[in-house]
């Protein structure tokens, strides 16, 4: 399977790749789940294959996290391209004006609560959050996940995706607003706006 690593001292290099890659499996899988959902396993496997083939490009073991993340994001983009243009599941118009904070305050879904905003967020489990993320266009989902879930700085994400910082900031902002709005829509559709819905 794949091409042999062409640099380094043979077995030692293969062992080094294996050690570095295996230590990242859990993180890569979690990241992929948030980016591509049920295709996560395939994407991580493809990431490992590509990383193996390009291992000679990794000079510093300390950079393995960012290096593998960049490969994984590329694999995700290739998957989305292969799947064809997605039907956008969310309405982008006016997204920037949406405030989940105000929406919750205005609608007051838990009128007997002293912490209505926190109570709202606590209705969501891991599957719910992944479903909401999946409803966002990839253009906005990727920066949102990389910055707020994978812990990258927006400048690192701009560099990784080869996008100007200003463009990335705009996408991140819209991604957050879309996420807020879709959290509300999802809660409405799935009966999470009832006292004790998840009790």
């Amino acid at each position: 399977m794949g091409d042999a690593i062409s640099t380094g001292s043979g077995t030692a290099s293969v062992e080094r790749f294996r050690r570095l890659a295996e230590s990242e499996l859990g993180r890569l899988y979690a990241l992929a789940r948030r980016l591509v959902g049920d295709d996560a396993e395939d994407v991580v496997q493809e990431t490992l294959l590509r990383a193996y083939r390009g291992f000679s490009q990794l000079a510093d073991d300390g950079a393995v996290r960012d290096w593998l993340t960049a490969i994984l994001v590329n694999c995700c983009h290739d998957l989305w391209r292969a799947q064809g243009r997605r039907v956008e599941t969310v309405e982008l118009e006016k997204a920037d004006e949406f405030s989940l904070f105000r929406k919750i305050a205005d609608e007051d879904p838990f009128p007997y609560s002293d912490s209505v905003h926190l109570d709202f967020l606590q209705q969501f489990g891991g599957e719910d959050v992944r479903a909401v993320l999946a409803s966002l266009p990839e253009l906005y989902r990727v920066p949102l996940v990389l910055v707020h879930m994978a812990g990258y700085h927006v400048k690192e994400v701009a560099f990784m995706l080869e996008v100007p910082l200003g463009t990335m900031l705009a996408r991140l902002h819209r991604g957050r607003k879309l996420f807020e709005r879709e959290l509300w829509s999802y809660a409405e559709r799935n009966g999470l706006l009832k006292e004790g819905a998840r009790a």
């Binding site: 399977m1 794949g2 091409d3 042999a4 293969v14 062992e15 790749f17 294996r18 890659a21 295996e22 499996l25 859990g26 899988y29 979690a30 789940r33 948030r34 396993e41 991580v44 496997q45 490992l48 294959l49 193996y52 920037d96 004006e97 405030s99 989940l100 904070f101 105000r102 305050a105 905003h117 926190l118 967020l121 969501f124 891991g126 959050v129 992944r130 949102l144 910055v147 707020h148 879930m149 994978a150 812990g151 927006v154 400048k155 900031l169 991140l172 902002h173 957050r176 996420f179 807020e180």
Partner: protein, 77 residues
């Protein structure tokens, strides 16, 4: 003085520490008198923590096994 809409627009960037010094001062000046935007700021912090709290996933044993098998095959190529 910036408006609530402008302040809210910048809150996340403010939390991320990526606003210019002059913008930071404007946001803080606004927050000093606007209780609603303070609520927005507090909620933005909660939402950031909410996203971070949902960042992890257990790697299912069968998935780990398949990925480790991939690494084994690569090593044996």
């Amino acid at each position: 003085m910036i408006t609530c809409a402008e302040a809210v627009r910048q809150l996340w960037d403010y939390l991320d520490g990526i606003v210019e010094e002059s913008q930071r001062a404007q946001v803080e000046e606004h927050l000093a008198f606007c209780r609603r935007c303070c609520g927005e700021l507090e909620f933005a912090e909660e939402l950031r923590a909410f996203l971070a709290a949902h960042a992890e996933d257990d790697l299912p044993p069968q998935v780990r096994a398949r990925l480790v098998a991939t690494l084994d095959e690569l090593g044996g190529a």
